[in-house]
């Protein structure tokens, strides 16, 4: 249970982290880059689908069209991970973390504040990037004379929501890995490693691989978004997927707090 003083300390830490983010030029640039990269990536993937998928846009199903559109959000996701990792790692590298800890000696509040802030920023980027790439995709599909997905259909909304969900989850994991690993590069590679685990799990024997998929982030996100359908190796269930994501977030935050508390800064 969080006491009143601790909650107050968390809100102050959050206000401080927000002020740091606002005055971080590279942060603002990275956020802008995430949105630009999402738009460019969607255009690139839609316009090169004949090369990458061996089909014309007209030959894609509506679901495939939406999946290609949303690839721009995947690119924004990578940028968000970089943003989250750098937000922590740059503070460690410049030793500003000493001032932060002196002002907020209950270190878990710093970890929670950074994780909450990055999750919020990632949500905002996810929403804006998704709106941009969907509108852009619609325009490209319409100009190509192809049917556009209806935004009121349940599966479209679910896939869109699931894709957006990926960003705050990975942002929190990025923040926490930056506390667990010694520098920004290793932290980013660590998050990338977690994202790659489903591919590595396919190398395992079938049953073991299926069990491993059940515990990973990406299959959970794919299940929520509907990208993974029942019967697929990475399909879990909606409830399991939510629980898995919650467990990952809880575990990485707990590990980051333990690591940060144990460190002399």
């Amino acid at each position: 249970m969080i006491d009143v003083a601790s909650r107050n300390s968390l809100s102050l830490a959050l206000a401080g982290e927000r002020a740091k983010l606002v005055s971080w030029p590279n942060g603002r640039r990275t956020i802008g880059f995430a949105l630009l990269a999402a738009v460019l990536a969607t255009a690139f993937f839609l316009l090169t689908v004949a090369i990458t998928a061996g089909k014309t846009l007209a030959e894609l199903t509506t679901r495939q069209s939406l999946e290609v559109m949303l690839m721009g959000v995947d690119v924004a996701n990578i940028t968000v991970i970089v943003l989250a990792v750098l937000f922590v790692a740059e503070e460690t590298r410049t030793r500003l973390v000493e001032v932060s800890v002196a002002l907020t000696p209950r270190r878990h509040n710093i970890v929670l504040a950074k994780a909450l802030l990055m999750a919020a920023v990632a949500c905002a980027i996810a929403v804006v990037a998704t709106v941009l790439v969907v509108v852009e995709g619609m325009v490209i599909l319409a100009l190509s004379g192809v049917d556009v997905p209806s935004l009121t259909e349940g599966w479209v909304l679910r896939m869109t929501f699931g894709t957006m969900l990926m960003l705050p989850v990975h942002a929190v994991v990025g923040v926490c890995f930056a506390y667990l690993l010694p520098n920004a590069l290793l932290s980013f590679l660590g998050v990338f490693g977690v994202m790659s685990l489903p591919s590595l799990a396919t190398l395992l024997p079938l049953e073991l691989g299926r069990a491993a998929q059940f515990l990973l982030i990406t299959p959970a996100v794919h299940t929520i978004s509907g990208v993974s359908q029942p019967g697929a190796i990475d399909y879990t269930s909606a409830l399991s997927a939510v629980l898995i994501l919650a467990a990952w977030i809880g575990l990485v935050i707990a590990a980051a707090i333990v690591a940060f508390r144990a460190r002399d800064v």
Partner: protein, 316 residues
């Protein structure tokens, strides 16, 4: 509650006896090597307490243990009887300056102080007054990357004083300051102590500490050597030395030895210990020896420091 006008122009709550910094048996080891060993001391309000030691003697590690940046292997530190991390509003109770370079250089001075205000729950409206107080009023919108070390030091000090804390802990605050800056820092520390704040200042610059501190805690190789006032320290190590020149040094030396003095000749004058100036005058008068010079020599803090740390250092 007793409100007083602070050195930085705003009202502060007058400190109480609860503003004592206390270290009990602090010990820190790195790779099995003790950097700080069983260090205990108290820092009281209303005076400037100097924390003296040579480079690498464990001063910074000790200060970092006081504020929770470094975890001690043994012992504890409290501020007003409470561990730093358990203070309800640490940022408004203790101002800390540990490293002026612990900043992100892409920010402006104002941006840097703004996030510190947000974390400490202080109204950012105080920032212009604090910048003016440290002499950075024209540089607030400049990027910190363009600051000199002295400006970074002043900015860090502004950050320390944002919430007008009753306790300040400063690690080598005059590093990088020019002569005028050093004088300014000296006045600032004095005024903070006069306001009743608890002021703990570490330094390896003995001359400066002699001019600034009322009391000194001296450590050597991570161990406490002395915790005394500067007059006490210099008196202990001075040995009542008096320089004497007369028209008959040889006779006078003999007479002074006869009354229990230790006398030696240094650069054409007598260096007399264990005899007061007054007694030397009386002996000379009794012997009808004319005194040319009779000058008590005050031991500097640096000499006292070197004397006691030399005694405290184990011989190899």
């Amino acid at each position: 509650m007793n409100l007083v006008e602070s050195s930085t122009g705003t009202d502060v709550v007058a400190p109480t006896l609860g503003d004592v910094i206390e270290a009990r048996g602090l010990t820190k080891r790195y790779d099995g090597r003790a950097v700080v060993s069983d260090l205990s001391f108290r820092v009281r309000p209303g005076i400037v307490t100097g924390f003296l030691g040579a480079n690498g003697s464990g001063k910074s590690t000790t200060l970092r243990m006081l504020v929770g940046l470094v975890r001690p292997n043994a012992g504890s530190a409290t501020i007003g009887g409470v561990g730093y991390r358990d203070l309800p509003r640490p940022a408004s109770q203790v101002g800390i300056l540990l490293d002026p370079n612990a900043v992100q250089r892409f920010r402006t001075g104002i941006d840097h102080l703004t996030w510190m205000c947000r974390v400490s729950g202080t109204d950012p409206a105080v920032i212009p007054a604090k910048l003016e107080a440290v002499g950075l009023e024209g540089a607030g919108r400049q990027r910190i990357g363009e600051y000199s070390l002295g400006m970074c030091q002043r900015l860090a000090l502004a950050g320390t004083m944002l919430a007008d804390p009753p306790i300040v802990i400063l690690d080598e605050p005059i590093n990088g300051l020019d002569a005028e800056g050093i004088r300014w820092m000296r006045r600032l520390l004095r005024s903070m102590a006069d306001e009743g704040r608890t002021v703990l200042v570490s330094s390896h610059l003995m001359d400066e500490m002699e001019k600034t501190a009322d009391r000194v805690i001296i450590i050597n190789q991570g161990r406490l050597v002395e915790d005394v006032t500067i007059p006490e320290l210099t008196a202990w190590t001075a040995g009542d030395c008096v320089v004497v020149r007369s028209d008959d040094d040889t006779t006078l030396a003999g007479e002074l030895r006869a009354v229990g003095g230790r006398v030696k000749t240094v650069r054409g004058a007598l260096d007399v210990r264990d005899v007061t100036t007054e007694r030397i005058g009386q002996v000379a008068l009794a012997c009808r020896i004319a005194l040319v010079e009779l000058r008590p020599v005050r031991t500097t803090l640096e000499e006292a420091f070197l004397s006691i740390t030399d005694e405290a250092t184990p011989r190899k």
